[in-house]
Amino acid sequence: MTPASTESGAGPLCIYLYCLYRGEVAWSTTGARLGGGLIVVQEGEVTAAVEPVMRAEFSDEKLADPKGILDKLKVHEEVIEEAMGADSVLPFRFATLFSSVSVLKSRLAEHRAQLEKTLDHLGHREEWGVELTVKPSAPANPSGGPAGASGPSASPGASFLRAKSAAWERRQDRREEAAALTDRVFRALAQESADSRTVSGGGNKAVFLVPRDRRQAFRSAVHRLADSGTFDGVQFRVTGPWPAYHFCEQFPMEVGRG
């Protein structure tokens, strides 16, 4: 038997929390997923999908092993995807563990109001991601440089620096044009969704919270924008539907994850 740890509720088992949901889910099986089998814990009209798991399976070493973690990620995602049949689903981050069901229940009770507000916001909605790539247009004057830069009076060094400066300015212009284009696309798509936000990293990625019954309208809007002629040179990559992972962020970050 493993020695008692200093954490609360010492013991080899703990509770893995996948998601909260409202409504009904027809689980494909209550058999083993990551551990001893799926259990649903009811709290009023909110249900928690949980599973008893071996604590040792979530040690630092295990979570640093790419093959091992991939297997677990697969299971986590499959469970959340199954829950998408419910009216509203709050996905929890991978590896949210509690020492017991009673600790889990009391944590959920602490955040009850906010959890219910988020469940309301995500009800019957799903997440779509859009990533744009703006192809660089060919420069108007590839040789660069203002007139006279390559004249007989300009030193090679000065010409080089002027050409570099002009190239930098052209790149800046293209960056600004690209940003303006992506902004226009995302504003248009925001009209087709209940909520939206840009995702960090370059400004060319955004996520949209789309009512399930507006799924086709959203996808058509993307295709319409791409077809409009206004955004030639822009490539659209659409991903979805996802559980609304990006729209859970209004929760305050808690200390506890390394």
């Binding site: 954490e7 609360s8 509720g9 703990c14 509770i15 929390l17 909260l20 979530f58 979570l63 790419p66 093959k67 973690i69 991939l70 297997d71 990620l73 986590h76 995602e77 499959e78 959340i80 995807e81 709050l90 996905p91 929890f92 981050r93 991978f94 590896a95 949210t96 563990l97 509690f98 020492s99 889990l104 944590r107 959920l108 955040h111 991601g129 996808r219 993307v222 295709h223 791409a226 077809d227 030639d232 822009v234 490539q235 659209f236 990559r237 659409v238 991903t239 979805g240 996802w242 559980p243 992972y245 990006h246 859970c248 929760f251 970050m253 808690e254 200390v255 506890g256 994850r257 390394g258």
Partner: protein, 105 residues
Amino acid sequence: MTQRNQRGMKTVCESSTLGDLLERILDKGIVISGDIKVKLVDIELLTIQIRLVICSVDKAREIGIDWWSKDKVSGEAGKDMLEMERLRLRIKKLEQSALRKEVVA
């Protein structure tokens, strides 16, 4: 599903990648930490390591690469050696950077 414009260029691509999945389930979703502390390594590092696992065709078969549903995620198996080498180099840099952070901290 791919849409092409009048010049036949691909403009709209509906596809999901491993990166899309990992940025969501490792980095988003509700964060109410349990009373059990969990440590996940740097997400970029983990994403690349996992991609390497999947890149190796033998490994992919072993772990059943087709677990992503067909309409959600495109497979990344069969990447060429150059891509794998680039990923390994990137991992090395991330690991060195993580080590430096640990030493300084």
